[in-house]
């Protein structure tokens, strides 16, 4: 399973396009927002937590179809399904690789982009913390959506339609944690809920995703 993780990481980093694109997309979303809503710094500060979370979520969504589609095309997904390791484990590793190549860089880049949106100083730590806790759930949920649509020729749009409603709770708790942190209110509840979603998704969704892949490979 570690070998699978290493292979996916190498593929993502070396086979151009996947690794940096999500980050670049995140940057562009954040740059575009002030053009849309105006450069008033008070307004930007107020909406910064939400914009950063929505941007991270969309950047994550962008690379989801890569999780299984390429392996499905060249047949290695069939090999994984018949390999001695459980498919559930393989799915979890692929989601982990997706998180390392998108969720983690987004988490690290988000405070820097917060600067562009005039995020109040007290929010940086909470932004990084909430993204660190929440983005693994985004990758897990996304891999479930990718598993559902892996057999489809043009699954990209359908994938976003399926996955985005599932992202709602994560987004709510994530943005709420940052907003509360800025106001100096208690952030315990949203952060705990984020952690709970991430842990539950990691524990349960690989089974659903593996079931979906088995159906699609049948």
């Amino acid at each position: 399973m570690i070998a699978l993780l290493q292979r996916d990481l190498k593929l993502a980093i070396r086979a151009g396009g996947g690794f940096g694109l999500g980050l670049a997309f995140f940057l562009i979303v954040v740059v575009l927002v002030p053009f849309g809503v105006g450069s008033d710094s008070g307004l930007l500060a107020a909406i910064a937590p939400g914009i950063l979370w929505v941007g991270a979520l969309l950047a994550c969504l962008l690379s989801l179809d890569r999780i299984f589609a390429l392996d499905h095309e060249d047949g290695s997904l069939d090999l994984l399904a018949t390999a001695p390791i459980p498919l559930e484990g393989a799915v979890a590793m692929k989601a982990a690789a997706h998180w390392v190549t998108t969720g983690l860089p987004l988490t690290l880049a988000a405070p820097g982009l917060g600067l562009l949106l005039n995020l109040p100083a007290s929010g940086y730590g909470w932004l990084a913390a909430s993204l660190a806790l929440g983005t693994p759930a985004l990758s897990m949920i996304g891999s479930f959506g990718a598993a559902l649509t892996v057999g489809l020729k043009r699954g990209g749009l359908l994938l976003s339609l399926l996955v985005l409603p599932l992202y709602v709770p994560t987004l709510i708790f994530g943005a709420e944690a940052v907003a509360r942190g800025i106001d100096g209110r208690d952030t315990g509840t949203p952060l705990l809920m984020l952690a709970a979603i991430t842990l539950a998704a990691t524990a349960l969704l690989p089974f659903a995703a593996a079931a979906a892949i088995r159906i699609n490979l049948r």
Binding site: L148, T149, L152, L158, P165, P169, A208, I215
Partner: protein
Amino acid sequence: MSSLWEYANPQKFMRTSSVLLPVFAVAAAISLGVGLVWGFFLTPEAENFGSTVKIIYIHVPSAMMAINAWVMMLVTSLIWLVRRHHVSALAARAAAPIGMTMTLIALVTGAIWGEPMWGTYWVWDPRLTSFLILFLFYLGYIALWEAIENPDAAADLTSVLCIVGSVFAVLSRYAVNFWSQGLHQGASLSLDKKENVADVFYIPLLLCIAGFVCLFVALVLLRTRTEIRARRIRAMIARERMA
């Protein structure tokens, strides 16, 4: 001893549903007709609400059915995954557009009511928001059914989506509660509370709810029968080609 599972046989289902369908259709027509006429013309206008209160006869039943339809889809999806009864999967597929329409009716009637009462068509209130999210879930579920060609794979995948979606729908409901304060009033009907709607509105409302339930059952039966017939036609065409 006959059991529920006998209806997993499409022929038996077709025979029984051909009897049940007109019964439920007529029951729906009568109870909706009586309930709506009674509610619209024969009840007084409520204090503070004026005549806008009458939208309750459509709003509340459709909102109830929007949720119940999803629950029904969850149950039939589980039956399909466990026992592989095709009628069950087809019933889930048949219920989805009806549930989505009910969600839409609840949202639209709520918006029409909200304009004179709250002064706005839409607020990001927990109940309104979770219904909008429910609408998105229906949309994704139906889109997945449409996208996959192999009918068995489509039934499997949508069933998995329905189960996972149910968990997330409940989670979203509570997340949304946490996120925003409500403007929507509390439950109009409940079994354990003393405070229900006033008695004059109560009986026509119950009639309308019964009517919506019958309407839902009739529509699901009708759509399931259509699906079964469509499958038969497809099988016949395939057999013809083979010959």
